[in-house]
Symmetry: C2
């Protein structure tokens, strides 16, 4: 059944990732594919990444899956749910954890005013919000949270902020303290936000983006680490087509693959249940417990078939042995799952990378 | 313990809802509180609604919880998760299902050009996308989906579309067929989108919004029912402070309250589990099965305490009997849940309205 793709030595393999360049997904792709034999190809949407891998145009794809503060990336879940059967051959084959340190990027006042402009001295550094009223206790917020980061430039000229929708939620406290009420515009990526600000000649816009993007687009870092949680991390999945095997293992599914115990692997499974049956979901989840497979995450999305019915995504510690369907706990659990759920799909097994990076 | 608020006859009660006026939440608030004795007060954010109810400024609040196509409203889930203990007294006490029919609103060309402008005749109605190449099969989309709605005006002058982020996902096929590549700007509500378009004197912008908003802001309906699924519905929760009782039942928790069997009620429970224990989640869910309580939805959000740990939200068919903690299946299930989960909170019981409206 499985068609082996022959890969020639020295051939450059394309890795499709959610771009643009300098995005966090780009960092994840660099983390997973360090070897120079890979060509990293930015894509416009997450669906474009799935599409390139499904069509065999890309050897692997890299997509965001989950942020430790904001939760799941629903666009990615919906592509795995694959209601229109467009991506039937996509499997997860790896993961990567990338720490997210958001910065406020923009222009300093003197960027635009020429040499006579006021230098950026301590005098135009914004007053601490602790004395500005920004974190004054109110009825609504009796114990207001204090931002951990302080701006290193004057923010009073900023009239508009660009960023990816997920970033607002991660930087709420900083934005509330220093940029309350300033217009926000959602853009497709934090990197695109930086690009837009670099093109803004008025110098009155700012972006929530990365330090890498500041370098790439020649912007100043006006504040660093403005996210609430210092351990803010995004998890990315590496995806492949099921008929491409792992013969050429220079990526993260490393040589120690065979030595790794099943416990060091994770698997993703999606399933639907009969919603009229009170115990259907509990029964479905208990099959994993029966074989000692720890659940590491669970997600639900609308089933797309009937309103208020859902497709469940379960991630378990364990590895599906391919080829021999009777071997291993994951295969046994999946066999039992088939008896209690309506339909299910195994979406891949990969090495657990959580300990390595965080 | 429970402080009874005395409500005088004839007193107008404030209902806080996620505004602005003519939003879908406004429609939900009108649906739940039809009586003229209520004053409907629009709020800027979902958190403002929680805040007004928690502070006792509003008698009830109405917030969006879930859309049948797009899934859960994570902002609302995070407010129920209440990591900073700001809304400890909020309970769900009702629900409302509002069919969502998105329209494309804008100006007709002659709106701006005076009486000599071309009238909107059949000749400037856009060509069917079936012959325009918009739904031509491609490698990526071998069987492209056809939009169910057609524009009733020329869309070629539209340069920018405003809407709420959830609407893009619901109108993907229409947008791909008729407005591909046109700049999109996220705004806080579909109603606000209509307002912005009404203020745009160039007449080159459009909004994805409701027919009610078209009336309110004097806009033309350029296309009707542009969402993919005809049964697209949003579910709203009515929230209350736990110490306000239901003595004055003119709202949806109607007089038949006592007659309704437990099966006609739903309850919301949040809990966290010990992630190191493989069976913790399955055990937690099985307590509901033990008492025959059907799970109607499950959601997860980051726990906010430790990365990759989650808070679970479970909705069950059944009603918690207050006052007597030993009575009823829900109380028994909650007692058993306490033995297997780390921490849990009952977030309210209310009459199931699903059959009434959809």
């Amino acid at each position: 059944m499985t068609e082996k793709k022959e890969i020639k030595v020295g051939e450059s393999l394309s890795i499709a990732y959610l771009g643009p360049k300098a995005s966090y997904t780009h960092q994840a792709a660099l983390d997973a594919f360090r070897d120079e034999s890979y060509t990293l190809d930015p894509q416009i949407t997450i669906e474009d990444v799935f599409s390139a891998v499904q069509a065999g145009k890309a050897y692997r794809g890299v997509v965001p899956f989950e942020n430790s503060t904001n939760g799941s990336v629903v666009f990615t879940l919906d592509l795995f749910a694959d209601l229109h059967n467009r991506y039937p051959d996509i499997l997860v084959c790896g993961e990567s954890y990338i720490p997210v340190q958001h910065c406020l990027l923009g222009h300093f006042p003197d960027d635009k005013r020429g040499p006579s402009a006021t230098p950026n001295t301590a005098s135009n550094v914004i007053e601490s919000p602790l004395s500005s009223g920004a974190v004054t206790p109110t009825n609504r917020e009796p114990i207001p949270q204090k931002p951990t980061a302080r701006p290193i430039g004057d923010l009073s000229r900023i009239r508009k902020i660009y960023s990816h929708p997920q970033a607002w939620g991660q930087c709420k406290i900083f934005l509330n303290a220093y940029l309350k009420g300033i217009e926000r515009q959602d853009v497709s990526s934090t990197s695109r936000a930086a690009e837009l600000v670099s093109e803004d000649e008025s110098g009155t816009s700012a972006a929530i983006s990365s330090a890498i993007a500041a370098k790439l687009f020649g912007l100043k870092v006006l504040a660093k680490g403005i996210e609430e949680r210092g351990d803010n991390t995004t998890r990315f999945f590496v995806i492949k087509r099921k008929d491409t095997d792992d013969d050429r293992i220079t990526d993260q599914v490393a040589n120690d693959q065979e030595q790794a115990s099943a416990e060091q692997w994770k698997s993703l499974v999606s399933f639907t249940v009969d919603h009229a049956n009170p115990g259907a979901l509990a029964h479905s989840l208990s099959v994993f417990e029966r074989y000692g497979l720890n659940l590491t995450s669970i997600n639900t999305r609308p089933s797309g078939v009937e309103n208020w019915n859902y497709i469940f995504f379960v991630e378990i510690k364990g590895r599906k042995i391919e080829g021999n369907e009777d071997e291993g706990e994951v295969n046994q659990a999946l066999r039992d799952l088939d008896k209690v759920c309506r339909g299910r799909r195994w979406l891949g097994s990969w090495r657990n990378r959580l300990r390595d990076s965080v």
